[in-house]
């Protein structure tokens, strides 16, 4: 305190000499900034988006523009604010002002060129953070000696790294686990189900020296492998098959993405390719993979409130940015939505650069290419419909619409609610009028009226075209005249006339315009087919009066009767008054026509999947404090500045934005990508990653327990073609992974959490694996892979969807749980309590908690009791009626071993008094059944 006072006294008497000695930033200026500025403009807060503890941020400035102009203290906002006299302006606003000496130091530092060395201690730490450095060349340590060589398994490079750390702690690896344990571990970790007892026996009896290697290869090629490992990835990328939020509607085609992930693992798709496909698969022949982009929750509650709409969109983009950042880079980018990241070198601007990459991506059911078989079938149906219509033409009853001169065979298809095109010879027009003379039920509706000159829609109000109408149905925000030519389609952006069955709309172009067709629709989204104009005229005019008819309903076939549709049947075939045979033939044709049309309607639809939909986006802006109502400067798409920053043109084509980002992430030089992935894979083998914070490799995350090993694995992984299976093969063949899980007192005392891996760390199975194992043991498991999901819930499909856990299950629900409909917010009634994430947030690591509800569900649920009875029946069938033999078989099915003598004795007693199902119920609840040994 005294020292401070002395300094300040000294400062007061010091002249503010213009000729300051050379200022050293670290020695002279930084302490000043630290004591006066960092509280509001430092790591914790960046008021006005100004940060003064980092060189790059400080030189860039904040909301008020650059704070420092090197060489010109007079023009530097920082100095201006510090020396201001007005209480509204002066900085700092509270607390002590800077002394004259301190102001002098600052002024001199700016005038001397504001030299801010890169290598100040803070920056050094910032730049040198391990995970942002390129992968280090690591030498494999000398192989372990002494006790560690107890293992019969050949030492792997992994073991050298593990043993080096163990040796430093005075520890050793444990001996190799017995084969019965090893094969159960291998199956549970790689396949998520127990091996059969017979498989255990065969492995135990395999005399070949490479028996385990052979087993590993066989297991990695088992299709159940993809079903197991897809689950881990789907957790990381918050995949689910419902929208979340209050409506929580289903995404009935999202399973195709799940199947894509399963196949990617089974085929060992190189990870760099896997990244590219998920971000930009539409450009790489894998459109389903872009389900990644839109796999997250989305709030579909529509509202005319622009604030809400903007917020919802910002949340969608945030979900994409965040998930991309955490899944591939292990970085939490979400913080930078509101302010520059406090711990990692990520500026707010960079966040919005990434948002700009995704700004053309939208959620939705996305059409996929029509498969050839379907296209062929459609062509056949098309031809048949045309043929039948020709044959039936002579039976058409005369109606108002068909009394005109156009012969039926030359008539155009009937109008439909989704899209109608009226082409005509190019003509100059100032105005276009669409007059409706009749419509199906109610006041007619148009969701969009487009007028084209070649490829250009000249009707848009943004092109200066003005719409007028005979009248508009009052009181509906969603039905307004301005929606007619706003470029937005669907019932909620439509115009409705105020007169039943009648009305007109007129478009006036800013000047004479050449036009060649009109395109119109009732509801292009296909939800509504009522209020459809059926009798209409389209006329154009160059001046005030002279109207020329360019198209009308006169040459269209009348709207056909469609079962269930709210349209008026217009074509009527009449068979009365005809010879019996002829009438009968006509009726048969008509029946076939209706049938074929129905088939055609299905065949005409391309298959869809829930994946990204892509449009060229507008500009992206930085949002002050993340508030979508506070737009700041425009931001071009780009990547993070962490390594080889990539900035794109502001108007970069949408797809190229994503492709470039994907390339940047999947680059072998990206310091994070491979490290993050090998750590995830490691985690699911040992329960904990080398980095215990799998989604945070930033400065706030955990440091790796074995940094050299992590880098070696990452390099090796890339050298071997980013092969995940190759990486896993290395891991499971290591002594570290093959060692016993038995605890050792002396090692527990040193490293109870087993982070150094002196034993294999056992752990409880996840929810899905428990359910799969129960079904496998009972023999009920249905092995069919892929395809639409089965439901664990009964679903009430109101406006808002409600999900009620099922009580009874049958074979449809006896497939593996990866194939269960993944519903956000609602958990499975039994296994949901086993820390099963619901896909609302990314879940890189599941917590493992133990609760009485889990015990109740597993001990009392109808599902488990049913399976216990099945298991009991299976045991009787396979072991005959001898009770000890039944007990033996029950142990084999549940634990893949025989019972010890006292176990057998007690089990026989239980089964004698209470039946085999009681024994089966206990075994399915046992720790040995639920733990990876």
């Amino acid at each position: 305190m005294l020292v401070v006072l002395a300094t300040q006294c000294g400062a007061a008497s010091e002249p503010t000499a213009p000729a300051q000695p050379a200022i050293d930033f670290a020695r002279d200026l930084r302490p000043i900034l630290e004591s006066h500025c960092f509280e509001c403009h430092g790591p914790a807060k960046q008021k006005a988006d100004l940060r003064l503890d980092r060189r790059s941020a400080a030189l860039r400035g904040g909301d008020g523009g650059p704070a420092i102009v090197p060489g010109r203290s007079g023009d530097s906002l920082l100095l201006h604010r510090i020396t201001a006299t007005s209480p509204d302006e002066v900085m700092p606003p509270k607390g002590d002002r800077l002394s004259e000496r301190e102001v002098g130091v600052l002024r001199a530092w700016i005038d001397q060129g504001a030299v801010w060395p890169e290598d100040r201690p803070g920056a050094e730490a910032e730049e040198a953070h391990w995970a942002f450095q390129p992968l280090r060349e690591t030498k494999i340590p000398a192989a372990g000696t002494g006790e560690d060589s107890r293992s019969a398994a050949p030492a792997q490079p992994i073991d050298a790294f593990i043993q080096e750390h163990l040796r430093k702690a005075g520890l050793t690896l444990s001996p190799e686990a017995p084969r019965q344990v090893l094969i159960r571990r291998l199956y549970l970790v790689l396949l998520g189900v127990h091996p059969t007892f017979e498989e255990v026996r065969a492995f135990e009896a395999d005399p070949r020296s490479d028996a385990f290697e052979r087993l590993v290869d066989q297991v990695l090629n088992d299709p159940r492998y993809g079903e197991r490992w897809a689950r881990h990835w789907l957790d990381v990328i918050r995949f689910a098959e419902s929208n979340g939020f209050e409506t929580n509607r289903e995404r009935p085609t999202a399973w195709k993405f799940r199947d894509y992930i399963i196949a990617a693992f089974n085929e060992d798709l190189p990870y760099d390719r896997f990244i590219r496909e998920q971000i930009a698969g539409d450009a790489l022949g894998a459109p389903i993979a872009t389900g990644f982009l839109v796999g997250g929750p989305v709030d579909i509650v529509g509202s005319p409130d622009p604030v809400l709409t903007a917020q919802q969109r910002a949340d969608e983009l945030d979900d994409m940015v965040n998930t991309t950042g955490t899944a591939f880079l292990g970085l939490t980018l979400g913080c930078a939505r509101c302010h520059s990241h406090k711990f990692d070198p990520i500026e707010q601007r960079e966040y919005y650069s990434l948002a700009a990459v995704f700004s053309g991506v939208r959620h939705g059911e996305t059409p996929l290419p029509i498969p050839p078989e379907q296209a062929d079938a459609k062509a056949r149906a098309d031809a048949r419909v045309a043929d039948l219509e020709r044959r039936l033409a002579r039976f058409i009853a005369p109606t108002a619409a068909t009394t005109n001169a156009v012969p039926v065979s030359q008539q155009r298809p009937p109008v439909n609610a989704r899209l109608n095109t009226e082409a005509f010879a190019p003509i100059e027009a100032r105005r276009v009028r669409f007059s409706i003379l009749a419509s199906t039920g109610g006041e007619p509706c148009l969701d969009e009226l487009e007028v084209y000159d070649g490829e250009r829609n000249v009707a848009l109000h943004t092109a200066g075209t003005r719409a007028t109408a005979s009248g508009t149905l009052p009181g509906y925000e969603i039905h307004k005249l301005e929606h007619l030519n706003d470029g937005k389609v669907g019932n909620s952006r439509s115009w409705i006339s105020n007169t039943p069955g009648k009305g007109w709309v007129q478009l006036e172009f800013p000047g004479l315009t050449r036009i060649d067709r009109v395109v119109w629709s009732r509801d292009r989204e296909g939800s509504f087919a009522d209020r459809l104009p059926t009798d209409y005229r389209i006329e154009v005019a160059t001046g005030e009066e002279q109207w020329t008819l360019v198209a009308s309903s006169a040459d269209r076939l009348p709207v056909a009767a469609q079962p269930g549709a709210k349209t008026t049947p217009a074509i009527v075939y009449r068979f009365d008054g005809l010879p019996v045979e002829e009438a009968e033939l006509g009726r048969q044709w008509q029946a076939e026509l209706e049938r074929t049309r129905k088939e055609l309607a299905t065949l005409a639809k391309p298959p869809t999947t829930y994946a990204g939909q892509f449009r060229e986006p507008g500009s992206t802006h930085r949002l002050h404090r993340g508030d979508p109502m506070q737009k700041r400067e425009a931001v071009a798409p780009g990547t993070l500045a962490l390594f080889r920053p990539l900035t794109m043109a502001a108007d970069e084509p949408e797809q190229k934005r994503r492709l470039q980002l994907a390339d940047w992430i999947a680059s072998p030089e990206n310091p994070l990508t491979a490290r993050v992935l090998v750590n995830r894979v490691w985690q699911h083998h040992f329960g904990v990653g080398l980095v215990d914070t799998p989604n945070d490799f930033g400065r706030n995350g955990a440091r790796p327990t074995h940094p050299e090993l992590l880098d070696w694995l990452a390099s090796d992984f890339m050298q071997h073609g980013w092969s995940i299976k190759g990486l896993q093969r290395r891991i499971v063949l290591s002594r570290a992974w093959r060692q016993s899980h038995a605890p050792r007192a002396e090692a527990l005392a040193v490293d109870a959490a087993d982070r150094l891996l002196w034993r294999f760390p056992p752990r409880r199975l996840e929810a899905e694996a428990i359910r799969d194992c129960v079904l496998e043991a009972s023999g009920a498991l249905v092995r069919t892979g892929g395809g639409p999901s089965f439901h664990l819930h009964e679903v009430d499909r109101e406006n808002v969807y409600h999900y009620h856990p099922k009580e009874r299950f049958g074979p449809d629900e006896f497939r593996r749980m990866i194939y269960a409909y993944k519903v956000r917010m609602e958990h499975d009634g039994i296994f949901g309590s086993f820390d099963c994430p619901d896909g609302s947030l990314v879940a890189p690591k599941r917590s493992i908690s133990t609760t009485p509800l889990q015990a109740l569900n597993l001990f009392n649920s109808t599902f488990v009791l049913d399976q216990a009875e099945r298991l009991a029946a299976r045991v009787s069938q396979e072991a005959g009626s001898d009770l000890p033999a039944q007990v033996q078989r029950a142990w084999e099915l549940a634990f893949q071993r025989g019972p010890a003598a006292d176990e057998s004795k007690e089990a026989v007693l239980l089964a004698q008094s209470h039946g085999l199902p009681a024994l089966a119920r206990a075994l399915l609840n046992a720790n040995e059944f639920l733990f990876i040994p």
């Binding site: 929580n248 604030v307 970085l331 995350g701 917010m825 820390d835 609302s840 009791l865």
Partner: protein, 503 residues
């Protein structure tokens, strides 16, 4: 590889005394494994606030053991009463003479306002008269006369502000502090921090409305990224906890014998893994489950409640639509009291459901026909909730129980154009508190003259959460859980304790 013995079994050691092991585990290995369980090892400990996190020390074999708060608490238990669908402050507790005076006029300066469902009509007074109530004379509408009689025990916050005008995100925000799905609910945070006083009942109970679940369903009581142990257990007076009861097909003797056999099986397995707390925790969880099978039906059985109590809550009377729903909700209110009496840490009682009809039909979402919709919801809420407050008070439970009445947001002072109801309004609404640690009678903050926007002492949902935690002895800036790169808090990076309302 050592030559294997087919079917070999590790030799069992003499049986350990498991109870002794479990208690040892609590002091030794348990605590070490705990950090492992919570994934908190080796992290930089600074949270965003710059304060050091104070994470609860959880023994995985006793996840619900009572734990010490950060500072001396005023409240030990919490009852949240959540009116789902957005209950209008303007027809209940926020009296606005200017709204009555300007009835039928456009809202000044807001004639172009577009809210959730669209354009706004004129300012519209409540169809219910407001009158002075209690000793303090607080104005409450005729919609809730019995709650009106309770005002001397209530602490109103009239200046609440949310940040979304959509139900799902709104309910998330009130229940979890985030508008997005998937974050832990307030009850999860509280039981994560404090455990519970009664080891034979769930620490956190959510009581859904008799008509069904609220708009955002189980997300209101989910545990998000906190361990599943801390999620709310949902049941009400009509539907019990799933899988709690012994299944019908299992005889009692068989059930017990199977349980005993399982215990021996697991104990023998544990001998091979001394020191493994997860294995021990699973054994303990079956014991706790067995105790819950006895204690939960007992607490949920309202058969012992005397007639005058049933009458106090309005549980005695059925026979019309309103009376039937009221009686069912009243039984939930009695259940809430019984749970709090038995020491359950956090009870979340819902009034209103989305499940049985759309907006306004079975919840407070009165867009179209406020008068008729609220004529059902008011009487359903009023007597049972007032009865619950009186009963808690007469049993002395308000001394250590904090009651929070809330809803996801408020409603507009105008009627919607072309409709007879009010649109969503997160800019201003009312919540109230009662019981341990809060001033009463007291009114804090205010909306503007029409009740449109919070104007005086604006109180965010973060502030409300910070205050609830504070009353429980918890510093909202230090109660954290590491998830996905961040020390997460209930209050994110926001929130101030509303110290003016503390007693």
């Amino acid at each position: 590889m050592t030559p294997p013995t087919p079917g070999s079994v590790p030799q069992p050691h003499p049986l350990l005394n498991r109870r002794r092991f479990l208690s040892d585990a609590g002091f030794g290995l348990g605590a070490i494994a705990l950090t492992h369980l919570l994934g908190t090892e080796g992290l930089l400990a600074a949270s965003v606030s710059g304060k050091q996190p104070l994470r609860p020390a959880i023994d995985p074999s006793h996840p619900f053991a009572p734990r010490a708060p950060h500072h001396l608490p005023k409240a030990h238990k919490v009852l949240v009463i959540f009116c789902s669908g957005a209950c209008s402050h303007l027809d209940t507790f926020d009296y606005k003479p200017e709204l009555i005076r300007r009835h039928g006029q456009p809202m000044p300066g807001q004639d172009k306002l577009i809210t959730f469902q669209g354009e706004q009509g004129a300012l519209t007074r409540s169809p219910w008269e407001f009158r002075p109530r209690g000793q303090c004379g607080k104005m409450v509408s005729d919609l809730l006369p019995r709650l009106g009689d309770c005002v001397d025990d209530l602490c109103f916050i009239h200046s609440m502000q949310g940040k979304t005008n959509t139900h799902g995100p709104g309910e998330n925000f009130m229940s979890t502090g985030y508008t997005l799905d998937g974050f832990p609910s307030m009850g999860s945070w509280v039981t994560y921090a404090l455990g519970t006083g009664n080891q034979t009942l769930p620490s956190y109970v959510a009581i859904p409305d008799p008509r069904g679940k609220p708009q955002n369903s189980v997300n209101n009581w989910g545990s998000g990224f906190l361990p599943a142990a801390f999620q709310g257990t949902a049941f009400n007076a009509a539907s019990p906890i799933r899988n709690l009861a012994r299944p019908d097909r299992i005889q009692p003797g068989s059930d017990q014998a199977t349980r005993d056999f399982l215990t021996r099986l697991n104990e023998r397995h544990l001998e091979r893994f001394p020191g493994d707390t997860e294995l021990a925790a699973r054994i303990a969880s079956y014991e706790l489950a067995a105790r819950m099978q006895l204690s939960v039906p007992e607490v949920a059985d309202l058969g012992s409640e005397p007639d005058h109590i049933l009458r106090l809550y309005g549980a005695h009377e059925t026979g019309s639509k309103v009376k039937d729903i009221r009686a069912a909700y009243a039984r939930n209110c009695i259940l809430a009291r019984r749970l709090l009496e038995k020491g359950v840490r956090f009870v979340q009682l819902f009034n209103g459901a989305y499940q049985t009809g759309g907006e306004g039909v079975s919840n407070w979402d009165g867009h179209k026909d406020l008068l008729n919709q609220y004529s059902v919801h008011g009487p359903v809420l009023d007597q049972p909730t007032a009865g619950l407050l009186l009963d808690l008070k007469q049993r002395g439970l308000l001394q250590d129980t904090l009651v929070v009445w809330c809803t996801e947001f408020g409603r507009m002072p105008t009627f919607q154009k072309g409709a007879q109801g009010r649109d969503h309004n997160p800019r201003g609404f009312t919540c109230w508190l009662a019981g341990a640690g809060v001033k009463a009678p007291f009114s804090y903050g205010a909306t503007d003259e029409f009740g449109y926007q919070a104007a005086d002492k604006i109180t965010t949902v973060y502030d409300l959460h910070a205050t609830v935690l504070h009353l429980l002895g918890l510093d909202h800036e230090r109660l954290t859980f590491y998830h996905n790169g961040l020390e997460r808090r209930l209050t994110d990076v926001h929130g101030h304790v509303v110290s003016d309302i503390l007693a």
